[in-house]
């Protein structure tokens, strides 16, 4: 536990004591601010949708998710492998599991901090509209749960990509490629008419698009939670295997 805390603190320092971390936050903040303007424009007309859903149907949610997660994770292993500090790290009595868990935890914490301004935006809108029904605490919580789960999946995949290579650019491209594919599959699933054949069924169960829409509407679907959480664990497990591979390669 002590080692885990030490490692998480070091990783967080890597994010928050460097320019890179703030550039990511600034970029995300810019997109959130822009979506805020879009939401305000939409609120000119009365709408039955909660603000979180209004935010989700702007394209910014996916843009932020797809662009920031590779940039957050690319550094984690690739940089240490490149500079050689990975060797000094792995020759101390820390386990491979602790290292993977610590790096993922730090990335997830940073990711959540990055999303905090959204909460601010939502609160401002609610305050200005004077309509308590526009932002229900439950709906906000489910939106953030969705953000957390989606982030976990993309970040864990990013960890795996970063562990595969010594180059941060390659790591970012691998995770961006994956993110874009998942996004496009989800888009395809949402566009296809409901059919009985198995291809559509499989695609339908991977419909990340619809699932996040549910979270933004305040619906927590356990199927989505299980899918995202197990994907996260799968990718973390793969990361661990990649890290261990130096011992049997």
């Amino acid at each position: 536990m002590l080692v885990f805390r030490t490692l998480v603190r070091r990783e967080l320092a890597g994010f928050f004591l460097s320019l890179g971390g703030y550039i990511i936050i600034a970029a995300a903040l810019f997109l959130m601010g822009y979506s805020f303007i879009v939401i305000l424009a939409k609120l000119q007309k009365p709408t039955p949708m909660p603000i979180t859903e209004l935010f989700y149907i702007t394209p910014f949610f996916w843009l932020i998710l797809l662009l920031t997660t590779p940039v957050i994770t690319m550094r984690l292993f690739a940089q240490e492998k490149f500079t050689g500090t990975f060797e000094t790290l792995m020759t101390t009595p820390v386990s491979d599991g602790q290292v993977v868990a610590a790096k993922f935890t730090a990335a997830l914490l940073f990711y959540l901090v990055m999303w905090l301004p959204l909460l601010g935006c939502l609160l401002v809108v609610r305050h200005q509209t004077n309509d308590p029904s526009a932002l229900d605490a439950g709906v906000a919580a489910s939106t953030f749960l969705g953000i957390l789960l989606y982030g976990g999946m993309f970040l864990s995949w990013g960890c795996c990509a970063s562990a595969l290579t010594r180059s941060q650019a390659v790591a970012a491209m691998i995770s961006l490629g994956f993110g874009a594919s998942v996004f496009l599959l989800g888009y395809l699933a949402s566009q296809l008419p409901a059919q009985e054949d198995w291809q559509t069924q499989v695609l339908g169960s991977l419909a990340l698009f619809e699932q996040m829409h549910d979270f933004a509407r305040g619906i927590v679907d356990t199927r989505a939670v299980v899918l995202l959480a197990s994907a996260t664990f799968l990718f973390l497990f793969l990361t661990l295997r990649v890290v261990e591979s130096r011992r049997w390669k």
Binding site: R10, T85, S95, R246
Partner: protein, 319 residues
Amino acid sequence: MSDDLMIEVANLTKRYAGNPAVSDISFSVRRGEIVGLLGPNGAGKSTTMRILACYLAATSGTVRVAGLDVFAQSDEVRRRIGYMPENNPLHYDMRVREYLKFRARLKGLSRKHSRARVDVVMEQCGLTEVSRRMIGQLSKGFRQRVGLADALVHEPELIILDEPTIGLDPNQIRVVRQLIKGLGGAHTVLISTHILPEAEMTCHRVVIMYDGRILVADTPGNLQKLMSSRSQVIAEIAAAPEELRECWAQMAEVEQFDVSPAEGEYFRCALTPRDGVDLRPQIFALARERGWPLRELTRSRHSLEDIYVRVTRPEEEEG
């Protein structure tokens, strides 16, 4: 297995994608010894050290540190080892003291203990004055000392240093060498280098590796002795070359000789004695007897350098 052995390597082989980096090497190191791994680049020194430090697994063979298997009891072994890899990678965005504390905590020291140990190693490695500086802004000599301090911070029984003086200026090399020398006795030290005087000066024993194999393992002194049996005597004499050649050819103790013109009227004679006899008194007596002006008379001492060149490149040398 005996208690006073710190490292036992038996039939160690490591292949990278089928290419052997280390083939079937065996050696052992006693507690408190300073041992140098010597060899050209690509000899397998770093690979051997990485396996000892539990970073890589061996393809076959057993490696024990303090009686513990490096693969099966890797955690225990890592607790006992202070390892500084080649090129000494550090986090350049951290301050010296902060980095050392981070490393001490990773190595399982408590907060209080780590603070005390960091002070001790900073003092030991002469880092106190730069404790608050960023590592990225330090000179290479200081960075090397930070790497050493890191290797020492948890009081390991075994210290493994991969090329600790590479890229330093002569002054910095002297400081680092002095530090390493001071570690013997209390710690067991394994260093790798391709700079020979370094091994000669700091190590109790030298293991010469070439192409993944061990060529020789002995004390620097014994290696010297091995070589000095063939050491040449150089004499610079002002005399007719024919006369000199005739003289040497008649001398029974001279196995081989070579006479070449030197500066001025002098000729340089390189004489190889039979069975390691010291030829110098005879040559001096001869020169006095014949009235030859003699301006130099030396016996070449083979440095490890010659031994190294000899054992690492036998074919080319003889060819």
